[in-house]
């Protein structure tokens, strides 16, 4: 990719270092990316739950099971926010009623951790001290974790891109576009329609299929200790 700046490197060494570094980098990047994704899901989930709760107090229909992600409608208001944590606070703004901040229940989050640990050894992986191991070993473990994560996420969430256009292509946003789905950045001036370039196509969960838990299930035990007799 970009090994053309250095001239005094022993060329024979390049292939091996090159691979190891990238394997390590890739593993780390994937790990981090996944952590972020998972946090996002947890947040989304909790937001959904609360949305549902809020709905239940009003005499509107509440959807069960297949939750389609549609954030309650509010005044079209655009703020540039880099951290998702802040979004949650902004969402609550417009209501004339007293502001209620959602308390996320830990069950769904614990459940997701349990699923990721069962199928992907996720907790084992991130609890590991990376500095003590070689890149090759980390790569092997990352393979176990990533295949498992892939399987778990696909099994329990239907995820689709928010925008179907190719990244890097021009897009036009008409008035009334969903600001929760599309986030504007950069030179935000003037009125809709906005013309810009699609940087990230976005992801949204269209369906959540989480297993149900029995009454007596202790969700905090995300992986039971194992004793072989």
């Amino acid at each position: 990719m970009m090994n053309n700046t250095e001239f005094n490197i022993d060329l024979n060494l390049i292939p091996t270092t090159f691979d190891a570094v990238h394997a390590y980098l890739a593993a780390t990047v994937f790990g981090l990316a996944l952590t972020v994704i998972i946090l996002l899901f947890v947040l989304l989930l909790s937001m959904l739950r609360n949305a549902k709760k809020a709905k239940q107090t009003k005499p509107t229909d509440n959807k069960e099971q297949a939750i389609s992600v549609s954030i309650p409608k509010r005044e079209p208001e655009v703020k540039i926010v880099e951290k998702i944590v802040e979004v949650e606070k902004i969402v609550q703004l417009p209501a004339p009623e007293p502001i209620i901040l959602k308390e996320s229940t830990p069950d769904a989050a614990l459940q997701l951790l349990n699923l990721l640990q069962t199928d992907a050894r996720f907790i084992d992986f991130i609890k590991e001290d990376m500095s003590a191991h070689s890149d090759a070993d980390i790569g092997a473990a990352a393979r176990v974790m990533l295949t498992g994560c892939h399987k778990t996420i696909n099994q329990h969430f239907d995820i689709s891109a928010v925008r179907s256009e190719e990244e890097g292509s021009p897009v036009t946003l008409n008035e009334g576009f969903n600001a929760a789905e599309v986030r504007l950045t950069g030179n935000i001036v003037g009125e809709a329609p906005f013309k810009g370039t699609l940087i990230h196509k976005g992801w949204k969960v269209t369906k959540v299929k989480l297993p149900k838990l029995t009454e007596g299930h202790q969700a905090e035990v995300i992986a039971a200790a194992q004793v072989e007799l």
């Binding site: 590991e128 473990a141 176990v144 297993p211 029995t214 007596g216 299930h217 202790q218």
Partner: protein
Amino acid sequence: MSHLDFSGINQNKQSMAKFSIGIDLGTTHSVLSYVDISEPDNDEIIQKVLQIPQLIAPGIIEEKAQLPSFLYQAHPSELADGEVVLPWTHQPQFLVGEIARHLGSKTPIRLVSSAKSWLCHAGVDCKEPILPSEAPDEVEKVSPFQASVAYLEHLSAAWNKQYPEHPITEQEITLTIPASFDPAARELTAEAAHQVGLGKAVLLEEPQAALYSWIEKSEGDWRNHASVGDIILVIDVGGGTTDLSLIAVTEQEGNLGLSRIAVGNHILLGGDNMDLALAYTLKAKLEKEGNQRLAAWQIQALTHACRSAKETLLSDDDADNIAIVVPNRGSSLIGGTLRTELTRDEVNSVLLEGFLPEVSSHDHPNESPRAGLRSKGLPYAQDAGITRHLAAFLSRQLNAINNIEGVNLPENASFIHPSAVLFNGGVLKSERITNRLMSVLNGWLRAEQAPEARLLSGLDLDLAVARGAAYYGYVRKGNGVRIKGGTAAAYYVGVESSMPAVPGMVPEIQALCIAPFGMEEGSTAELAGDEFGLIVGEPVRFRFFGSKTRREDVAGTRLEYWQDDELEELNEIEITLSDEGYKVGEVISVHLSSLITESGTLELQAISNQNNQHWKIEFDVHSDE
């Protein structure tokens, strides 16, 4: 036997059933599919597959289209209270489904698997608690029959939970069985259904169900893909078994008709064998590379990893090898992992050469006599070569079309020439495997100057059997074409021939045909000419045989000689004349009769020559081992 003609009586009866339900009680997975039949004139068929709630781990319930056919006998201390609950009960009698498979993978001594294969296993009593066969004495055992009942109960409860207003006992049920199931196994399956209240369930052979599913999916277009004279070969390779059937396309009153003309033997060989074979290849490779002997759990994890790697390598042309990693069991994921890779060459040599070798149509499976006493395990196929089993089946069934009009073979044919092939079963999702099967089969056909067979496609290979079974209930209402065929074998009882006793010689035995090949549902056959004197109160046992090739024998035919491979000995049958109205010890003259029930089972009876009283003859109630 299983393509069940519902006779006029039942058709006229006002049926309350809203749904036709098809249950595929598989060796490794069970599936329930259903069709709304309350408006039979409606041409549009909407098929659904029931999402079956099941425990996937202690305390976690998930809905899945497949219920793994496993049963786990948990230790009383093994699971916490309140973690074993199902949506319909606080205390399931048995753990079945994903949780059973999951827990059993770590504690195999408590796991019951392949119960269905035991049902067709001559030499064991399927109502004796014998499973898990390797379990220590303190583990409570269940019978293969009980295990089948448990899976059916789970499916029924799941249905009733979802459709409380349409209880399953009031619906039309079709239960699928391997075409190779013998009369005793069919009877056990019907009895299991009866026990959960599904007494009206009819049996349907799985390869036929697959063909029904194909017909249903084609939405009427199938007539453009089949023509009179076609011989359709159905190859069904599931997780644990391989099932073969031949279905001829005939002309019936100006329309296309289908007729099942032959079924294969019960071959215990399937996808699980392939995964194991790959795992053992990798085990040998790892141990050669200087690793220590692998522990059982590592082999198991290898098998699991091989399963998905196999699917990738068989479907993806770009991948030449797949890394296989067996992580440590402890919480430390890095280090302690076993690493190796599965290459395309290994998959080719192990799977394609091992299971689908390019043999000639004259090759037959290598069956060496079993050494010494066979342990109490299942009689797994000795030869893993599916193509060899296929060659043997097609050669044996050369005469299967003799009485079928419009279907002909060239003079020189040494095996029956299929003109179309329908695949079913998870293993055959892989294109490389189906291509190999097609190329081997077409090679045989070319060698005899016959046209190549074409592939009938479009099945959902995991769910087709259940879907076809549900569709079959719709067909029984008089919509669409029905596959004809009757029993897939002729049945015989062994009788001693009347010849002078010769010291030191076991009296010769004759085979008396009691049910001919192709007997249709609802028909009976009486052997009025053959009288037996039976003693009241004393059980009498007869040897019992089946033949999948003798099509000419009628009820009453006595065979003095037969080729070894013509008749297959099944479990013995037993008659006990109850002493009601008779003195114990009295000899009564009876003759035998056979009946194919509406649900597709064979029923044998002894009928008194004096007053026409009937006694039922039992299949294999007690094993003599």
